[in-house]
């Protein structure tokens, strides 16, 4: 697939690297030659130096023959202009990153579309949605919706004394077909479980299940559904604004912000029930004064990843709350997760996975959809005559490094048991260890 990316900023270059590793044809356009030089020398992609909003640069990048045009420069107006030019020159699909909800509103998007922008990506909106999902399903550690929510992937920490703690997988899984344990994360290691594996307290279990069975998992893993109501936010940036507006009164927010001017801005833009406090949340006294002990969740959204992580840790010492931290340095994400921060938000990754999802919809040969540390989840389309269709799953003698999480047939999600016969045209979710993907591909081709 031919993809042109305008803007070699953090999102642009992250996407370019990611997609280039996925065997896509990437052309990256930016006006900064030094930035491009590094990418050009190290990655399998082509770079073009030039203004992403100029006809000359976009013609040189051959947008007229590209399948996907992604504009991710720092300026939304430039992105929209670039998309408009690209669309008029003949790009198949255009995506622009925007910075305000205004262009996304259904009544306005119509006009944006007329300008030549087919899809918009608003990272703050995606992040806000992600946080709200995490707060609503607080008993899960992480929750991903795959294939438009047909299959739910839930990461749940197994507490001491849960009904299934200490059991072997085959002891309870054989009687129950409403879920599938697809991966276990134990001491920084990811295990693809087999029937003989024992579940231990402290494991993070990744279940795949369908929407109607999600609630069964709660009882099974001994989790209580703790309703989250009071949420404290540190840092009143754009994301805080979007989050409070998107929540529509489901939560009671309290925002701590350093800068008094920002506070005034927040008071104008946030819903009226949001309480705004001018103070530094890195100070324990301020946290206590603002009533941290009453909070159900603590969300840190300042531009500094370090402050966000450390303040979450401080807050946890004061109160038993769910913690969410925005971490923009990608290399810190693993560390933050290891420190038991419940949700780590990274706008870059969210934006790129959203664009990835667009790719998946456009081209089913792109398979990978998300990575859990050292395991990968791939959505594979079953071709006619491929090895996996030869027998019911239990007779296929699949490798121990992989497991089938579920499948989507005719747009409906379902789980896979031993007797399931996989048919051509199904989309199968495969969990495998990094490196085993080749083996998986062989099964499906």
């Amino acid at each position: 697939m031919k993809i042109v990316i305008a803007g070699a900023g953090e999102v642009g270059s992250h996407l370019a690297k990611l997609l280039s590793n996925e065997e896509q044809d990437i052309t990256l356009v930016d006006s900064d030659a030094t930035k491009l030089g590094v990418l050009d020398a190290n990655f399998n992609l082509m770079t073009i130096t030039g203004d992403p909003t100029s006809f000359a640069a976009l013609r040189e990048a051959k947008v007229d023959r590209c399948d996907l045009f992604i504009a991710v420069t720092p300026y939304e107006t430039a992105n929209i202009v670039a998309c408009s030019i690209a669309k008029n020159l003949g790009a198949q699909l255009t995506v622009a990153r925007i910075d305000s909800y205004d262009y996304m509103k259904p009544e306005n998007f119509r006009h944006v579309k007329q300008m030549g922008v087919d899809k918009v990506i608003y990272p703050e909106y995606l992040a806000a949605q992600e946080i709200i999902t995490a707060l609503e399903y607080s008993w899960m550690r992480s929750r991903y919706e795959l294939h438009e929510g047909q299959i739910i992937l839930a990461g749940i920490v197994l507490p001491e004394g849960a009904p299934i703690a200490g059991m072997q997988l085959k002891e309870f899984a054989s009687t129950n077909h409403s879920f599938h344990v697809s991966a276990i994360r134990r001491n920084h290691e990811t295990i693809i479980p087999g029937g003989g594996d024992r579940l231990l307290a402290g494991d993070v279990l990744f279940f795949t299940t369908t929407r109607e069975h999600v609630d069964d998992l709660m009882a099974l893993t001994g989790q209580e559904d703790r309703k989250i109501r009071r949420v404290m936010i540190m840092g009143g940036g754009k994301l805080a604004m979007r989050l409070t507006n998107l929540a529509e009164g489901r939560f009671k927010f309290k925002i701590l912000e350093n800068d008094i001017d920002e506070c005034h801005k927040l008071s104008r833009r946030c819903p009226t029930d949001v309480e705004i406090i001018n103070g530094d949340a890195r100070d324990v006294e301020t946290l206590l004064d603002s009533g941290i002990t009453e909070m159900d969740a603590f969300v840190t959204l300042t531009p500094s990843s370090e402050s966000n992580i450390l303040t979450c840790l401080t807050a946890r010492e004061l109160v038993d709350a769910k913690t969410v931290a925005e971490v923009e340095n990608i290399q810190f994400i693993d560390q933050a997760e290891a420190l038991n921060i419940n949700l780590v938000i990274n706008k870059k990754l969210l934006a790129s996975s959203a664009i990835f999802q667009l790719l998946l919809d456009a081209d089913s040969s792109t398979s990978k959809c998300l990575a859990l540390a050292d395991a990968e989840v791939a959505e594979m389309e079953v071709r006619k005559g491929s090895k996996i269709t030869h027998a019911p799953v239990k007779d296929l003698r699949l490798s121990r490094d992989m497991t089938l999480g579920g499948l989507i047939r005719d747009g409906k999600g379902m789980l896979i048991g031993g007797n399931t016969q996989i048919l051509p045209g199904d989309h199968v979710l495969v969990f495998c260890l990094t490196g085993a993907l080749r083996q998986v591909e062989r099964l499906f081709n």
């Binding site: 031919k2 590793n21 044809d25 990437i26 052309t27 030659a33 020398a41 399998n44 082509m46 693993d334």
Partner: protein
């Protein structure tokens, strides 16, 4: 982070595996000389066949049996791999010369011959021996042809596995030029396009030569040696055929094309002919060749008198193009044309052709940077605060890039001087030492007999041939890729 710190510095198993795969590709190229040998019923066919089978089996064993933990290739791996591939190719490529029953030779001569072939230097220690079989002659030509555009580039086109970061490193380490033109987004597509152009031109050239006075075998050998700007000839019959004006004219055109950036030729073919006219470097290349042509013609008339239009126009042009594209075929004793032409020859060897071509030398592109920068520096003597960018092809080059180009040229000269010093230790006369180092790093392949000063390469001691082989490789991979291996910090993390 956990995994990175525990990894060894080099991914040796993966390096060996890749080398193994490439050797399997090399063994496929042996089929051409084997075919020729079978056709002419030559004794050398057997040994070439055994070499091909051996190369294939070693390659297969390396590619299949070596267990790799992961297949990531780092920057270091890329550099090491590029150099080792070239050396490995030469090591296997030299075997038929050593064990040939008709014209056997020692290891130094054979390695020199093979490296000279792959780097398209075309310097030969065996060339002066009569009776080399057609099988080996064709193998020499094929070696040049593979090396012309690049071994790695060819494999990037055919092995999809190298289409990763490591492959990018190798592409950068092998391609000639200051910056590397990618003509299509993925490096494998770029490689395929460039090789497509190269192959098409080779076929065209072979057909044109065949249509003339050459037989099919000579046409094929000459085509391989001309477009790759290597300069190995196909024995006596080939040399004789080159006396024809038609052959000379065809060869002039294709040697010249061999000195042009292949990305530019690709764009020309795919409907962007304007790029060709707008290219600064190409224009300078053409003008420079024209001026040299005039100088050579005048020098020849002054030395030998007027003997007709062909002697006046075609011969000097052939010579100029053969030198400046680093093909290094000399039909006439240049020494007889006077000292001035010899100096011009040295200058042209230094300049070379355009970057991204199959030619050697320091490349016209770098000269353009050098001269523009030089002018700026002089100008700055008068106006110290002037801001003067080095502008090439309508783009301003960053000071780092200009610095890198100048460093390249300095190191280039340093390598010649150091190499010459080493050769004089071995008892080679000073002028011969300097000239052969120069000829090898520029991949031209002139022996000192051209200058009328010394003998050809086979007079050199064995050790000198190894030194020159290394210099050829340094010149072909454009210095940095090879010399970086000499850096202590390349081999340790410190």
């Amino acid at each position: 982070m956990r995994t990175i710190s525990r990894q060894p510095l080099f991914n040796i198993p993966m390096l060996l595996k890749v080398v193994g795969m490439l050797l399997m590709i090399e063994s496929a190229f042996f089929l051409l000389p084997i075919g020729a040998g079978l056709y002419y019923h030559e004794e050398d066919t057997l040994i070439t066949g055994i070499t091909a089978a051996g190369t294939f089996l070693v390659g297969l064993w390396m590619a299949r049996r070596i267990r790799t933990t992961h297949n990531r290739l780092s920057k270091r791996d890329g550099f090491l791999l590029t150099s080792s591939v070239w050396v490995a190719f030469s090591l296997f490529g030299m075997l038929p010369f050593i064990f040939s029953p008709t014209t056997p030779c020692n290891v130094s001569d054979a390695f020199f011959e093979a490296m000279s072939g792959f780097t398209t230097t075309g310097a030969s220690t065996l060339g002066s021996r009569p009776g080399m079989s057609n099988c080996l002659l064709l193998w020499r030509a094929v070696m040049q042809w593979i090396g012309g555009l690049g071994i790695i580039l060819f494999t990037l086109a055919v092995i999809p596995m190298l289409n990763t970061r490591g492959g990018m490193q190798m592409f950068n380490a092998e391609m000639t030029g200051i910056t590397h033109d990618k003509i299509r987004p993925r490096v494998s597509q770029t490689a395929k396009s460039l090789w497509g152009v190269y192959m098409g031109l080779t076929v065209l050239l072979a057909l044109l030569l065949w249509a003339g006075p050459m037989d099919f075998f000579d046409a094929l050998c000459t085509a391989f040696g001309t477009l790759s700007t290597g300069g190995y000839t196909s024995g006596i019959s080939g040399m004789l055929a080159m006396e024809h004006t038609y052959v000379k004219l065809v060869m002039i055109v294709f040697m010249f094309i061999g000195g042009v950036n292949f990305a530019l030729i690709f764009r020309f073919i795919t409907g962007q002919p304007r790029q060709l006219l707008r290219n600064d470097v190409l224009r300078i290349y053409v003008i420079f060749t024209g001026i040299m042509w005039a100088c050579f013609a005048v020098a020849r008339v002054a030395a030998e008198g007027y003997h007709g239009l062909v002697e006046l126009l075609v011969d000097p042009l052939f010579q100029v193009v053969a030198i400046s594209t680093s093909t290094g075929i000399s039909l006439l004793p240049l020494a007889g044309w006077g000292g001035f032409t010899l100096m011009l020859t040295v200058m042209m060897m230094f300049f070379g052709g355009c970057a991204g071509s199959t030619s050697g030398g320091a490349k016209i592109d770098r000269m353009v940077y050098l001269f523009k920068n030089m002018r700026n520096e002089l100008y700055r003597c008068i106006y110290p605060n002037a801001v003067l960018p080095v502008q090439v092809g309508g783009r301003v080059a960053s000071p780092q890039l200009v610095g890198k180009v100048i460093a390249f040229l300095c190191i280039y000269v340093m390598v010649i001087i150091v190499g010459a010093c080493v050769l004089t230790v071995m008892g080679v006369p000073v002028t011969d030492a300097i000239f052969s180092c120069f000829s090898c790093i520029s991949n031209t392949g002139f022996g000192t007999e051209i200058t009328g000063l010394g003998g050809s390469y086979d007079m050199l001691p064995g050790a000198a041939k190894w030194v020159l082989s290394l210099i050829m490789l340094t010149g072909r991979l454009e210095i940095f890729s090879v010399l970086v291996l000499l850096l202590p910090s390349f081999w340790s993390r410190g």
